[in-house]
């Protein structure tokens, strides 16, 4: 009984170590294959469409509503202190520093990350990847590298679009619903939002999140057990691990950037 339990613990420890090792080796091979996309840029374009453009709609809708809800909630609190002209500041700072990168990371893991894992995993279980190797096509270069690069490029772009949409959503609520003046909204924001401290740090966060989420997504697909059950588990792991990684890294990055 005790031995069984010990064996289970040992096995899961060894498994997680070997997963980490395979993941790192995979990342290394993937980075080495990245120059290949300069020779076949249409592969990257196609993946940018699949990963970036098709995620755009959910990003736009989510951004709009997050901005609108934040403005409404900020108003409820701030109006008690007679500080309702600070709505724009609250909306823009929370969007630029935290919500923009984190929301985009989470949505990307759910929408594009899971699709990447499922696609690569199905290629593996239908032996397309081995087929490519038989034809002397390196699947690392032909399948993984374009997807990896497309994800890394798309996440910051999506984040910036999310931020802009959310602030426009907040602007709409503040001016149309709460009757604020347009000039007050923009001038409060410009006076206090710093380009490097706030906007650039948000973009740096999104670069990190994009890298980690895409890494997890393509690795889980490439490493999955090639059965329908294994594929399902891999997709679940992508979403769960990707989201947790985004949230955990966000805490670390915030602590580093905004020196609390």
């Amino acid at each position: 009984m005790l031995l069984n339990w010990l064996q289970k613990t040992g096995r899961s420890t060894l498994n997680s170590f070997s997963r980490t090792g395979r993941g790192t080796l995979f990342l290394w091979q993937c980075l080495l294959s990245l120059p290949y996309i300069f020779r076949k840029p249409h592969l990257l374009i196609r993946q940018m469409h699949y990963v970036g453009v098709q995620t755009l709609l959910i990003i736009l809708v989510a951004g709009l509503f997050v901005g609108m809800v934040l403005a409404l909630q900020a108003y409820i609190v701030l109006v008690d202190f007679g500080a309702e002209e600070s709505i724009s500041l609250m909306v823009s700072l929370s969007i630029l520093r935290e919500l923009g990168p984190v929301f985009t990371g989470l949505l990307f893991a759910g929408r594009a990350g899971s699709a990447l894992t499922a696609e690569i995993g199905l290629m593996k279980s239908t032996e397309q990847l081995s087929g490519m190797e038989m034809m002397a096509v390196n699947p690392m270069q032909y399948v993984i590298a374009p997807r990896f690069m497309a994800g890394i490029l798309s996440v910051p772009l999506l984040t910036v679009i999310f931020m802009a949409t959310a602030i426009l959503g907040g602007f709409f609520v503040a001016t149309e619903m709460l009757g604020q003046y347009e000039g007050v909204f923009w001038s409060q924001m410009q006076a206090k939002v710093d380009f490097y401290q706030d906007l650039m740090n948000g973009v740096i966060k999104s670069l990190v999140f994009g890298f980690v989420v895409v890494w997890i997504a393509v690795f889980e697909g490439y490493d999955c057990v090639p059965t329908s059950e294994g594929l399902g588990q891999a997709t679940t792991r992508t979403v769960v691990h990707g989201s947790l990684a985004v949230l955990g890294l966000d805490f670390i990055l915030t602590a580093l950037m905004f020196n609390v």
Partner: protein, 152 residues
């Protein structure tokens, strides 16, 4: 979907992101105000206590914003706080202008208010304001009030 459509969509995506970035930099953040540091001049003012004054706090004269606080440091020889003010070149102030640290509203942020005097000559760049009034620190005011009550 053929290659042309896909390329057009990806192009539109990238352009949309660039437009968003431009909007965020110019309309939301203060990038636009970074460049025009050329047309300001600096004057210094020493305060005994600056309260909660921060860098980039506004400097205003008669309620109009004429510049901002660009640097705050502690002068370790005279034991006072030295504040550097960036004043826009469009505005000039007499030599005996006084500076005071005021609070916008009851709980608002602190800013530097300039009160022009009657001198004929103007403050030169890198000049120093002689007349300053420190920030109002609530604890000190209450302390003084209690002290004067106890004396009665």
């Amino acid at each position: 979907m053929n290659t042309r459509t896909i390329e057009i969509l990806v192009g539109a995506f990238v352009v949309l992101a660039i437009i968003s970035m431009v909007m965020l930099s110019l309309k939301v953040s203060n990038l636009a105000s970074y460049g025009n540091n050329g047309d300001v001049y600096q004057i210094r003012a020493q305060f005994e206590n600056i309260g909660g004054l921060k860098i980039r706090a506004p400097v205003s004269a008669g309620g109009v914003r004429v510049g901002q606080v660009s640097n705050i440091r502690y002068d370790n020889e005279e034991f006072v706080a030295e504040v550097t003010l960036d004043i826009k070149n469009d505005y000039q102030f007499p030599l005996d202008t006084s500076a005071s640290i005021l609070t916008a509203g009851l709980l608002g942020e602190q800013y530097v208010g300039l009160d022009p005097g009657g001198e004929e000559e103007y403050l030169q760049p890198d000049g120093e304001l002689e007349l300053t009034q420190s920030a109002l620190v609530l604890e000190q005011v209450i302390g003084q009030f209690l002290f004067s009550k106890a004396q009665e």
